[in-house]
Symmetry: C2
Subunit: 199 residues, 2 copies
């Protein structure tokens, strides 16, 4: 089953002039997005081909931008933050246009798209949105819909206006556990739940 | 309940002359150990005070060395790889001696100890060892012992001689899911399983 994740980088740089030495600060939290990509795609012995990730970058001068990663096309992905930040930088070096997904490398695309634009596109495809948050149905008790799309903030949850955008569509609130977790840890839980169910 | 993890860095540098820009290569996989520490300790809103991690570093000129991290004493921990690699470097800059845990910063200690030495020390404390591996009892069905100590390799599983050292003690084999996972993802699964059981 296809597993889609939308991750919102509220402060994440949309221009490529960030320092690899300071992904949390100058990158606006690109380290967090890198860890999320690693957990969405990396098995110890390969790539999760059934995964798809949309990063929404909302920081810096060229906001917003979206980067799409398709597991079925990726040739490989090293899980370290710096390698993944290099892929993000390459995507930010390409001119992003509205309504177009420009190819960067196999499985990586960039577009001048907002969170709302990506929601609209995936909704047209038939996705059901699942907001991963502290309060919600427990993941283990949750019956996965046909085409699930999980939505997470980076270090902070969705803003009021992002929630409003989401609530225009069919969605569910789901929680991965009883404490407050980093986004990449939530993605790990979702992925291994899929594995357990053999979906 | 105290949660202890031993993570073996088979190639991990034991001297501080590695490049922050190349933790997988020049650090011998210190990026992997950093991600493991982040998942062992970092909640979205604080530190897991009940966690304790022993890194066993087996690469480079001064092998082996062990670095101990105690959640109850740590003042904070940023989850990005570079910040954590900075703490590891500080520990490697200190002279490590056999039979002594030298303090580096609050909650961080270094010793000239091998995997076998750490197993012996924790066994004396009453730990039950749990080898996280692909084949084993499912984590969800596993009844946690009193003082559990989880053992993982970094990118590669335990060597034959490490398994032999472990098998001299009381131990169990436990699996977190049906596929082959990175060590940090396994730690996430264990931590959130503890949370679910409110242990």
């Amino acid at each position: 089953m296809q597993r889609t994740f939308i991750i919102i980088g509220h402060r994440a740089k949309t221009t490529s002039d960030f320092e690899f030495n300071d992904l949390p600060g100058s990158g606006g939290g690109i380290d967090t997005l890198s860890r999320c990509l690693a957990t969405a795609f990396c098995l110890s012995n390969g790539i999760r081909k059934e995964s798809r990730v949309f990063l929404i970058l909302q920081g810096g001068k060229d906001a917003p931008k979206a980067i799409r990663f398709c597991g079925s096309e990726l040739r490989g992905l090293n899980p370290d933050e710096r390698s993944i930040a290099g892929i993000i930088r390459a995507a930010l070096n390409k001119k992003a246009e509205m309504g177009v997904w420009a190819a960067i490398s196999p499985g990586v695309y960039v577009s001048k798209a907002s969170f709302g634009d990506v929601l609209h596109e995936l909704s047209e495809e038939g996705a059901t949105f699942i907001h991963l948050r502290e309060s919600g149905v427990g993941l283990r008790d949750f019956e996965f819909p046909e085409d699930p799309c999980f939505i997470l903030g980076d270090n902070t949850d969705l803003t009021e206006s992002e929630e409003k955008a989401l609530h225009a569509y069919r969605y569910r609130d789901v929680s991965v556990g009883p404490r407050s977790y980093h986004s990449d840890h939530c993605i790990t839980m979702v992925q291994i739940e899929f594995d357990h169910r053999n979906l």
